[in-house]
């Protein structure tokens, strides 16, 4: 997205912006609306990822029954819920940071929620496999 044709708006920034948006996005030059929408869709994809973790935790607690010892099952459900919450919070942070970077023509920030996602999924899957195999 950042490597598309450079966008050179003629109108300067931020007039008419009010409240929360003004405070969080700060100055800079309003980016091409298409980039803003792309950022929004990426944000929504992260939110759905967070919801998938929530759904995983809820489903584990609801359906896993006696497959796992209760402590392990509840512990895993809690872990998945927590990872989902962290990703959801990180999604907004990232949305804002990307929006800010675009407004100042800076390189887009790296997504730190990506390693959270990978680590969370790997740990949860690892524990589940381990318990299923060795219990």
């Amino acid at each position: 997205m950042a490597d598309q044709e450079p966008h050179s708006p003629t109108t300067p920034p931020t007039t008419g912006r009010t409240g929360l948006s003004a405070r969080l996005l700060g100055g800079g030059i309003e980016p091409d609306p298409r980039f803003t929408l792309a950022n929004e869709r990426t944000f929504l994809a992260w939110i759905r990822t967070a919801l998938a973790f929530l759904a995983g935790g809820v489903a584990l607690e609801a359906f896993a029954g006696d497959v796992f010892p209760t402590v392990v099952r509840t512990g895993l459900a809690i872990t998945l819920l927590l990872v989902g919450m962290v990703i959801a919070a990180g999604a907004t942070t990232r949305w804002i940071r990307v929006e800010r970077a675009m407004r100042h023509s800076l390189p887009l920030p790296l997504p730190w929620i990506a390693p959270v996602l990978a680590t969370g999924a790997a740990i949860a899957t690892g524990i589940m496999l381990g318990v299923l195999i060795f219990r």
């Binding site: 708006p9 003629t10 109108t11 008419g16 912006r17 929360l20 948006s21 969080l24 996005l25 309003e30 980016p31 091409d32 609306p33 298409r34 980039f35 803003t36 929408l37 792309a38 950022n39 929004e40 869709r41 944000f43 929504l44 994809a45 939110i47 759905r48 967070a50 919801l51 998938a52 929530l54 759904a55 935790g57 809820v58 489903a59 607690e61 609801a62 359906f63 509840t74 459900a77 809690i78 819920l81 927590l82 989902g84 919450m85 959801a88 919070a89 999604a91 907004t92 949305w95 804002i96 929006e99």
Partner: protein, 108 residues
């Protein structure tokens, strides 16, 4: 969606794709809501609150889809995109609260 509102058509269909992304997110909330109902047997009537919370978010998204699509379609071709922070912050907060409520029900 309502093409009459968009004077400028974006060949990349970005407003439409963004609206569809919101629709998928809405359905994800419905899925989570339905899963929460499965806790009823173990955790009792409190799960209705979890279900209701997730459904409320889905309804809020659904009720504002058309208005927000129109806003996006009109922003196409304008020099300014006017991103709104509010919906993003609210959506994240909703997911975090839903997760926290789920944690509370498990732990209490």
């Amino acid at each position: 969606m309502n093409a009459r509102h968009s004077a400028v058509v974006d060949p990349g269909l970005q407003p439409e794709r963004t609206t569809l992304a919101w629709s998928r997110t809405l359905m994800a909330f419905v899925t989570v809501a339905a899963l929460f109902l499965r806790w009823g047997g173990e955790h009792g009537a409190v799960v209705v609150l979890l279900f209701g919370g997730a459904i409320a978010v889905a309804l809020a998204i659904g009720a504002t889809q058309r208005r927000r699509y129109t806003h996006r379609a009109q922003a196409m071709g304008q020099p300014t995109g006017q991103p709104k922070v509010g919906p993003a912050v609210a959506l994240s907060a909703a997911v975090v609260l839903l997760g926290a409520a789920g944690l509370a029900v498990i732990l209490i």
